[in-house]
């Protein structure tokens, strides 16, 4: 069991984290952030096992992972 915190303001919605998460825990938000990007969000918290794969791929260091 784990969870991730995504800084929606610095996220650029590249979706690399979503692709990296092989547990399907992440998804795109519906709301744009102030820069116009659609940030990623932890859509299925119950799926997250804290594996950090998403954070390893995040180019904007927007993800912190907790376990």
């Amino acid at each position: 069991m784990g969870y991730v915190v995504i800084n929606a303001e610095i996220c650029k919605g590249c979706e690399l984290c979503i692709e990296a998460c092989n547990r399907g825990a992440l998804a795109v938000s519906e709301e744009a952030n102030s820069k116009g990007y659609m940030p990623a969000k932890l859509a299925k918290p119950e799926q997250c096992n804290g594996c950090t794969l998403c954070a390893i791929m995040c180019p904007d260091v927007a993800i912190s992972v907790y376990k």
Partner: protein, 185 residues
């Protein structure tokens, strides 16, 4: 007559193209025109802007650093360029994305919900043309026929759908512009 316009928004909102159409139409009207994009790594920020000047005499300053009109397609753009607008100027605001406008009282604000209008018109990508249509009645250096001609010259004829979509959006914008009240100063 000189019209100095700054157009700004997200990348992908067709800001550059909109500016080019405006400048091109101005040229077809026999005016002097300049069009200048923002260039370089600023682009990375996800924002884009360009400057258009249309004038019936030689253009000195090439860039509309103090524009008569501002087209703000999103909020960061509005914030960035609002202070530069000349007193008495007009700000065309994309009210689909910008909800609160911290207005200066020496400029006029015209709200056009271009995302919504474009979507409603079945041309969600052509919000730029909606905005251009809405501006038309305030511009002296161009007219509808020339803007349409400019659009035709800038869209390859084989992309017929795109061309028509743009013309449709332009018409929608013209209608919206006519309906939108122009605040007095």
């Amino acid at each position: 007559m000189i019209e100095r316009v700054r157009l700004a928004g997200f990348g992908g909102q067709g800001i550059m193209f909109m500016g080019k159409i405006l400048a091109h139409a101005g040229m077809l009207a026999g005016n002097q025109v300049t069009w200048i994009p923002s260039y370089g790594p600023e682009m990375r920020g996800g924002t884009a802007n360009c400057s258009v000047i249309v004038s019936d005499t030689e253009i000195g300053e090439p860039v509309a650093s103090r524009p008569d009109m501002l087209v703000a397609m999103n909020e960061p753009s509005l914030r960035k360029f609002l202070p530069a607008v000349r007193p008495g100027g007009i700000i065309f605001v994309n009210s689909s994305l910008i909800h609160e406008v911290d207005v200066r009282d020496d400029v006029r604000v015209i709200n056009i919900p271009v995302n919504d209008l474009a979507r409603e018109a079945g041309q969600p990508g052509a919000m730029n043309m909606v905005m251009l249509g809405a501006m038309l009645q305030h511009l002296q250096g161009v007219n509808r026929a020339l803007v349409e001609e400019a659009i035709r010259e800038n869209i390859p004829s084989m992309r017929k759908n795109m061309l028509e979509g743009n013309l449709t959006a332009l018409a929608v914008g013209i209608g919206a512009g006519a309906e939108t009240p122009v605040p007095a100063l």
